[in-house]
């Protein structure tokens, strides 16, 4: 089993996302340290993909900037290995199936294991297709994170029963990005999840404000935020890490009050 469980031992979890290499790896490293120091419980590290079909415009932009800067899967593994010398917070990768497939799934999992990345989120790998990656992930102790969506009716039980690490509850229809409100009945989804597994679940997609994070964490075990952080990188570039630190601090405080 991975270290993901630890992320949920410090009250409700706050899980920030960052695209590696946007705009460069030095900035990513600084941002990760800021996140860790300001209360993040688990960090989602995005490995950019040329055609991220589950992302809205904000994270698409981060993918393009990172790839334009020459980032590759190998560079990201080397970067994480270096970071791991002193940064101990649990990590999961978030990328697309083709990135793992092209790297060779076994080689990818082996390097995750080596560099201390406990899980992988692949938004284009639904329950029906996970077999091809989950066997080799298990072999290396990597959790392949399952997603449950507002449209998952009738599928929640099946997904929850086989889930590892934590469950990523997708708050809304559509792609990633900030939303003014979330209308899905998250409580009902979480209830069915709880009936079928005791692994934690966190809510993501559309969360940007502390009140939203507090509400979503109140209904689950934590909140995941991506686009709002990428927005800070978009706005402040290399100066973004300190703003990210402040933001993470306010969000962790909000989920702690949930």
């Amino acid at each position: 089993m991975s270290d993901i469980r630890k992320a949920f031992e410090n009250g409700k979890a706050f899980i920030p996302f960052i695209t590696c290499g946007d705009p460069d790896l030095e900035t990513t490293a600084k941002a990760i340290r800021e996140m860790a120091e300001n209360g993040a419980d688990l960090i989602e590290l995005g490995i950019p993909f040329s055609d991220p079909t589950a992302e809205g415009p904000v994270i698409q932009g981060a993918n393009i900037r990172a790839l334009a800067g020459g980032i590759t899967t190998d560079k990201i593994f080397d970067f994480v290995a270096e970071l791991r010398r002193d940064v101990k917070i649990p990590f999961v990768f978030m990328t697309y199936a083709n990135v793992v497939y092209s790297y060779d799934a076994e080689r990818f999992m082996a390097r995750c294991c080596e560099t201390g990345v406990g899980g992988i989120i692949l938004p284009d790998l639904p329950f029906e297709e996970k077999g091809e990656f989950s066997a080799v992930a298990k072999q290396y102790g990597i959790d392949l994170i399952s997603l449950i969506a507002p449209t998952s009716a009738g599928r929640i039980k099946m997904i929850a029963k086989e889930a590892d690490g934590f469950i990523y509850v997708v708050s809304s229809l559509g792609v990633t990005g900030m939303r003014s409100e979330i209308n899905t009945d998250i409580g009902e989804i979480v209830k069915i999840i709880r009936e079928n597994t005791d692994i934690p679940c966190a809510v993501g997609f559309g969360i940007s404000k502390p009140e939203q994070a507090k509400k979503m964490a109140g209904l689950s075990d934590g909140a995941i935020v991506g686009s709002a952080i990428i927005k800070l990188l978009e706005k402040y570039g290399k100066d973004a890490p300190s703003y990210i630190g402040e933001y993470v601090k306010s969000m962790k405080q909000a989920v702690s009050e949930a």
């Binding site: 497939y101 790998l125 449209t151 229809l173 792609v175």
Partner: protein, 396 residues
Amino acid sequence: MAESKGRFGVHGGQYIPETLMNAVIELENAYNHYRNDPDFNRELTDLLNNYAGRPSLLYYAEKLTNELGGAKIYLKREDLNHTGSHKINNVLGQALLAKKMGKTRLIAETGAGQHGVATATAAALMGMECVVFMGEEDTKRQALNVYRMKLLGADVIPVKSGTATLKDAVSEAMREWTSRIDDTHYCLGSVMGPHPFPTIVRDFQAVISREARAQILEKEGRLPDAVIACVGGGSNAIGSFYHFIPDENVKLIGCEAAGRGIDTFETAATVNTGRIGIFHGMKSYFCQDKYGQIAPVYSISAGLDYPGVGPEHAYLHDIKRAEYVPVTDDEAVNAFEFLSRTEGIIPAIESAHAVAYAMKLAPTMDRDKIIIITISGRGDKDCAAIARYRGENINE
């Protein structure tokens, strides 16, 4: 553990966000129900025959045959269909299916604009809302088709992300579908994407080979020696091949867009230059770098300018049942002009790729051999671009 569905050998599958899973399951169930429903099939046949103008002609191209001096050449005239291409075959099927499912809105991607025009047409006919995603680059290359779609009542959304071509239009249509599923059917235009699309689109396009097989038997009393079609995602090709697949002596040849050549980076010849990967809902061959980043592809033809190929084609390639050959821009443009002059038929630049390969193959075959070329669409839409290619500027 649930089983992966819609496999063609190792290819195919359903690599899509969880948000869409129940939508594709609902689609599969509806299709399995209606495909055997006599009323549905009667309605579809009526639309194909009385609205789209089927069956399409199998025309003996005598002048072309004599000019090339080899095998006898027949043209399967999908360019004569209503809306000017084979795309209408699939669209009428899917729109009717969507309507039976209670959907009121169709979304689609388009490259050259032919599929977008066909979808906008079916939506107009059936009283459905229609939104078409088209790469911004393609909206410029195919301005006439953009106007046609708008005239038919569709919204055309220019897609600026990525390379602003067909693959980006597919990505954007998928994103739109995840945000609005209840009333919306994604009318995918090729034999690609997640299961059940490759199967549904193939079945609706298989009318091409069902007719062609019967027509050639009637005219020649025997099967052809080769069937040639162009391949982007591969819908007209799979439609042209399908009923000939069991006929082992019929060579099946798919013509890929090589752009400026398969030894350059400016190519879209997926089977010839790609590797197996996972993208747009399917496992298949894709043009990509060693880290799995999808490569920008290039072809003069907006309809073949796609970095992947349908999973059934990938499988037919793997088992060596079909052969996939590269055809360059230059060869396609020559064929576009040659067919226009010899037969008075202006083919779509996509279809001209198939004609170009036939021009190489026919002279190497004996005069008692037979080739069928599928003319997937008509070339009016391409005239301005071909003129530009030849250094002539005509205002559309």
